[in-house]
Amino acid sequence: MPEDSGYAYRSQIETIESVVAEDDLTVVFNLKTVTGPFEIYMAFPGSSIVPKDLVESGHDLNAEPVGSGPFKFVSYTPRDSIKFVKNEAYYESGKPYFDEMTYRIVADPTALANGMKSGEINFSNEVPPKDWNSITSQSNMVDAALEGSRYYWMLPNHERGVLGDPLVRQAIAHALNREAIVKAAFFGQATPFTGGVIPEWNWGYADLDVFEPAGNITKAKELMSKAGVASGTPISLMMVSSWPPMMSMAPIIQANLAAIGFDAKIETMEVPRYWDEVWGTSNFDLTVMYWLSPLADPDDFVTNTYATTSAVNVQKGGSKEMDDLMMAAKSAVTKAERKELYRQQQELSLTDMDVIPVVNGWVLTAHTNKLKNFKPMRTGFLKTLKDAWFD
């Protein structure tokens, strides 16, 4: 693939040397190097195999997606719904059990909660945390929540004054009261990070107990003193105004920063402007972002976050040592080798503190008790709906 392709996930397929279709049901990928997460990469929706002649004919896959999955796309009404019908030619005989499915887009969290409470909406994997208890306490609803891969992290801009000093970044990391953030922003439905960004449920998890869930202001102050940061140093925290968890955690973070000597101001902007200012030009001091890892391989938790060449390295961090470690971890042959290398990578991440892990969100799925055999996925994907049915 050309370097200027603009494909954000180019790094996933750069390892491919050649692709051969051996027969109607077999594809052989010849890789340039050992790539541990390669199978997972190919399971990524962006890596879907599509008919070449369809693409070359100019068919717009964005407007009319095609696939060989359990459901076929019918129509999309903006900010309203996506309709599907059963794919009669699906390779798993007899599945899916639904004849059709309408995926309603309900942008307003209150409207979604109201719909679930009244029974008009009988499934959601985006239940607002503030309404979780009131929805799942209903006798006809099933609580299918589980810790997911939606991790929140704070980005300190390394090119902004004192934030270029790893001691200061460590200080901020230790100052954060993650327990309070879980309670206030997520109503208890999140897990505070006490070490690296790979969550406990993932095989790449390293049990590195570095942060106290309620924060450690004493330790943070010591680090600030070591870094020689003057009390009252101004700093701004840029947040997206339309994302409730961000706005809820902002005052907590501001208070934590104030406790260690920063004069912290909260600035807000709406999403498109935020993309431009923060993501386009790195015009920020501190911000909070979240990433939904769709791949569940440790590589996806770390490469996007820490790689020097990552498209989301807006904090201008990264190092050759980190890049080399992540490449080694990706290329190691056995899972045990990879696990050890990810441990080393996470240890390094907590020293460099390129980004500051905050919390890992849960996938809040609730559905009618008439829906049977649905198994939620940590990525939040709905692939397992193919195995579910209505009683």
């Binding site: 954000a8 407007a63 009404t77 942008a107 109201n114 993501w279």
Partner: protein, 317 residues
């Protein structure tokens, strides 16, 4: 009469052109790039450049406008940046939904405003006048989205009389459609009635002070006939004129209400366009609202002309 109709329709043209220019400029100068809104945080500089080139966003603004306007005149409003769906048909599909919602809301506003405004005007400076004026202020100052939340809580969740949201197409079920639009229409109509009550009241007060009312009373015209044949007929013109303007505001204010109630109208499309910086969608939806407002104002003027051409001349003077 036909001269007036033709003249008014012709005056639409410069209005639409100016409105389209203002909208086009507004959409393009607001911070936040369409490319990044569509491509997401992982967008590479190359992808952004490619996107902007594909959609002509790297051209001077006046060329972009000329291109867009030239196509819009032929009914081609382009395709959505988000999903490449043709915008024109999507907008056309949603116009009837919003018009139905706005009409129901306006109907509710009139049902509230005409009797209450007339009563307040007829009982000027009495206790009922004061009470109704206070109610009008309360209605007019209530945020419609707050009222919507309250109505949903009470009538949808607590009593279960109405759905919390969603829309049933009119052609599928008339009753279902009206039921699904009832709470959103009340949210909009009740708030709109605030201003309309005051307009009706002022118009009735002015009419009551006119000489021909004194003449009618001295001729022994009964209160019922006095009100319907003289007071109401003369008060309705200014009410209609302001009412048309208020209908325009109503159409514009459906944006949040359609989102709260999950109604697939023009308003929610405007929201899509704003949030996603989906310029073709935003422009087409906004122009649709502009056209609706112009048309409603035109129809209101026409109705006023039909009811009493002299009054129209007076109001204009």
């Amino acid at each position: 009469m036909w001269k007036i109709i033709a003249g008014r329709l012709l005056s639409f043209v410069p209005t639409i052109i100016i409105a389209s220019m203002i909208l086009f400029l507004a959409v393009n100068v607001v911070p936040g790039s369409a490319a990044r809104a569509v491509l997401g945080i992982q967008a590479t500089p190359q992808a952004i450049k490619r996107f902007e080139h594909k959609h002509g966003l790297d051209r001077p603004l006046y060329i972009q406008y000329a291109d867009w306007a030239g196509k819009a005149i032929k009914g081609d409003f382009g395709t959505s940046f988000q999903n490449s769906v043709a915008v024109g048909p999507e907008v056309a599909k949603r116009i009837p939904v919003t018009i139905l919602l706005a009409s129901l809301a306006f109907g509710i506003a009139i049902l509230i405003a005409v009797p209450l405004g007339a009563l307040a005007g007829m009982r000027h400076q009495k206790m009922s006048d004061g009470t109704i004026t206070t109610l009008a202020t309360l209605f007019g100052s209530t945020p419609n989205f707050w009222l919507a939340t309250l109505l949903i809580y009470l009538f949808a969740l607590k009593f279960g009389w109405f759905p919390t949201g969603g829309y049933v197409p009119f052609q599928d079920s008339v009753l279902g459609s009206l039921k699904s639009l009832c709470l959103p229409a009340i949210s909009l109509g009740l708030v709109s009635s605030g201003l309309l009550i005051r307009i009706m009241r002022a118009a009735v007060i002015e009419t009551m002070e006119s000489n021909h009312i004194d003449t009618a009373i001295s001729k022994g015209v009964g209160p019922r006939r006095l009100f319907f044949s003289h007071v109401l007929r003369n008060s309705i013109i200014p009410f209609l004129t302001v009412g048309a303007v208020e209908f325009g505001f109503l159409v514009g204010s459906v944006v949040i209400i359609e989102d709260v109630f999950r109604i697939p109208g023009i308003g929610s499309l405007v929201l899509v366009g704003i949030i996603n910086r989906d310029y073709p969608v935003l422009l087409a939806a906004s122009m649709a609202i502009t056209l609706i407002v112009l048309l409603v104002n035109f129809l209101a003027d026409l109705s006023a002309q039909l009811i009493d051409p002299r009054q129209v001349k007076n109001v204009r003077n």
